[in-house]
Structure formats: C-alpha cells, structure tokens
C-alpha cells in the first residue's frame, strides 16, 4: 500500500487550477492507495491560494468590471507578469466578447441595457468560476481524501463566511500569541530538526533564512514561544518532519523539499 502525504502545492493544483495541472495532480493521486492531507496543508492553502482567490472574487464583485479588476491585480501584484499589460487584458476580454454572436448581443443590449454590458458580464462569470472553485475546495475538506489528518490544536479551523456576497476567509491563522502545538513534538526530535536545518540550501532567499532561524530556535531555545509567524516560516520543513513512516511526500516544489527530505530519508515525488 502506497501512501501520499499531500503538500500544499499539489493540493492547490488539485482544488483550484484549470490549466491542466489539476488533471496531472488527479493522475498522480491515482498512483497511491491512500492519501493523507494534513491540516497544515489546509492551513497554508486557506491563508495563501484560497485567500487570493477570495480577494479576486471580492474585487470582481466590487468593481463589476473585468478590465478594472485585472488592472487592480496588475497594480497589487508584487511581481507583475507578462499577462497583465493593458494590451493583454484587452485581448483576454476580446476573446470573451468573441464567444458571443454579435447580433445576439446587440439584441440583448437593446432589451436588457446594462445587464448586457460585456465587461460586467465577463467580470460576473469570472467571479462565479472563482466562487465555484472556492466552494469546491475549502468546504469539502472534511470529506476530501477521507478528511483532515494530523489536526493542529492551536489552529481555528473555520468555515468561510458569505458577507452580502463577499467571501471572508478570516480567521486563517492561529491566534496572536499562540504557542504552536507542533513545538512540543519537535522539541523531542532535536536531532532530526538539526539534520533538516543542516540541509537547507545556502541560496540567500529570505524564505530559507527564516526557516533556518525557526529550526535553530526549536533546536536550541525550546522555551521560546513558537509564534504563528514562526509556524508559517517553518513551512516546507513540516512536511519532511511530519511525513508518516513509509509515506511519500507529493509536491510540485521538490526543489525546496527534496534536500530536506534527503536528510531524514523521506521519499518525495512530483506529479
């Protein structure tokens, strides 16, 4: 019997994507007879990908304009990519418009006025698809793959809230001041923590530096509180340190996870 220990990236592909990655994830999962999704993966999923989906949903609801919403995304992105120049935004909208028969749209605009505005319509259908993806993931976590495993006692698992159409994802992290429930388990495994820390790449990335700091703190200063931020920085190391015996970590982020997994002899696969 082969068991997959699902990491957040594959969970995200499976739940949210529609670019073919979801099919790849589905096919990969079929290779395993058992799939374990730890609550840590759901926690990362809600705070990250699900939150940004909800943000986009709420922006589309707020502006009721495809072009204005994408323009907002372009401004807010820390690393704007090729997709969101004005020209590309317009071409995406043109592709949408071309999906309608010209005569039909003119007729609908004459009869329904603003409701047939194609920028508004485009925003609405994109919002509905995002809402569907959100509804198909988070609310189903208790049933998907036999439910949530390795629950975190300090994490407030909460439903999403529909606030007059807006999707609210809060709370999405442990309460401020909480001492992470994982710390007690980790302090009994200081040798493993040290092995993982030693395998962190020296790549100068802020993410790696933060992980190094947290692992060293767990290893050498057990009395210190492991805050919600520390838990977030712990990140990839969780999947290596808490992978059940014999299970295989399934991730698209093997670049970061593989070196850590090698330290403890844990297997890693990509979809």
């Amino acid at each position: 019997m082969t068991t997959a220990f699902l990491e957040t990236t594959v969970l995200t592909d499976y739940c949210l994507k529609k670019d073919g990655s979801e099919k790849t994830a589905r096919a990969a999962l079929r290779r395993f007879s058992k799939i374990i999704v730890p609550q840590f993966a759901w926690k990362e999923f809600k705070r990250g990908p699900l939150h940004t989906y909800a943000w986009m949903h709420n922006k589309l609801l707020d502006t009721r304009s495809f072009t204005a919403s994408l323009s907002a995304l372009q401004k807010i992105s820390r690393t704007p990519r090729r997709y969101f120049t004005s020209t590309i935004i317009q071409s995406l909208h043109t592709a949408f418009v071309n999906g309608f028969d010209g005569v039909t749209i003119k007729d609908l605009q004459a009869r329904y006025g603003a409701k047939a505005n194609l920028d508004t319509l485009h925003a609405d259908v994109l919002r509905l698809e995002l809402k569907r993806a959100i509804h198909a993931s988070w609310p189903r976590r208790e049933k998907l793959f036999d439910g949530v495993h390795h629950r975190l006692s300090c994490y407030p698992d909460a439903q999403l809230v529909d606030d007059e159409g807006r999707i609210e994802t809060k709370p999405d992290d442990c309460p401020k001041g909480a001492d992470c429930c994982l710390k007690a388990q980790l302090t009994t495994r200081r040798q493993d923590v040290a092995l993982v820390r030693a395998r962190l790449p020296k790549d100068g990335r802020p993410e790696t530096s933060k992980r190094f700091r947290v692992l060293r703190q767990i290893e050498k200063h057990q009395s210190r509180v492991m805050t919600p931020k520390d838990c977030r920085d712990f990140g990839d190391a969780y999947f290596v340190l808490f992978c059940p015996p014999g299970a295989i970590i399934l991730t698209t982020n093997s670049r970061d996870i593989q070196p850590l997994a090698n330290a403890l002899g844990v297997s890693v696969e990509t979809p």
Binding site: T12, L16, Y53, H93, G99, T104, E129
Partner: protein, 189 residues
Amino acid sequence: MADVIDLGKFAGMARTASGTDAVNVQASEETGSWTRSTNISGSAGFLSAAAVRKLDDESPIGKMLELVERILKRLEICMEHLNQQEMFSSDDELMACKRLLSELLMFREVNDSVGLIAWTAYQASQVEAITDAPALPEVLHRVLTRLWSSPFMRFDEACLLVEEIEGAVPVAPASGFIEVSEELLTEQT
C-alpha cells in the same frame, strides 16, 4: 421540502438582521394553465416556482422562469429529433437554445446559482455540432428543470449541477481565468 421558493427573496425584501424573512406568505392551492409538475410546500412562507410566476410574471424571476420554460421546450424538441436520428434538426434546435441561454445570462443577478448554471450551460452549448455531445440536451434539460423548479437553490447544489453538464461535454473556463489563476497563485511562492 423540495422545489420551493423563499418568497421573501422573490419579493426582493431585505432580510432582517436576525436572518429571518421579511415577509411570510402562506402558499395556496395552485390551479391554472401551468403545465409542469409543481410542488406547493406545506410550510408557510414558501411558494413553488410555478405559483410565483403566476403571481407576477413581469418580475425578473417571473421572466427568468418563462425563459427557462422556453429553453426546456426547445430542448425537448431537440431530444426528439436526436432520438429520430434527425441530426440537422436536432443541431438546429441546440443552436436556438444557445441564443436563449445567452439571454438567460441576463438574469444572473437573480442569484449566483442562476448565474453559474446559465454560464456553464451557455459555454456547453457552444459545441461545433450536436454529434460532439449527444448527451448534452438531456443533461441540460435535467439541470434546467431543476433550476426552473428551485431557482433559489444553494450555490453548492448549483456546483454539482454544472458538474453534470461538464460530464456531458468539456466546458472551457472563462477567458482570463487561467491567466488570473496563474498570477494569483504565483503570488504565493
């Protein structure tokens, strides 16, 4: 309690802060020319789709139900032709349905369930020819019948219904979905 409409929503009345409906109306016996099977709830405060339409067929919900009724009739003709292997006639009816489905999108403000079903049904109807998706008319008929009888269904139910449509024919996401998704998810790494 299936196939009923919360009259408070139909009447456009605001919900009270406590979440209860602003109006409650006892459903009465239904008579008249409405031909589809209907249900009258035994509970006060709810009316069937048919009864609501009879009360006010000029309201958005009344107009939407009338449009869904027209689409269902055309789908029935489409299925008849399909059963008789009359492919040109069957395809012609599906094209007519496509136009009506684009009109159904104008009622997406009724609620998100209506919007999602209308959009997915419209996308699905864009097949090149009916031979590409011979199961589609029947699936659309089943889904739209459900929408007709329960237009205020929960969004989760609408999600399951559109999965049925996608089972009959692959449905492409809205233009821009993949690009937006990539941008949103890349932000996380």
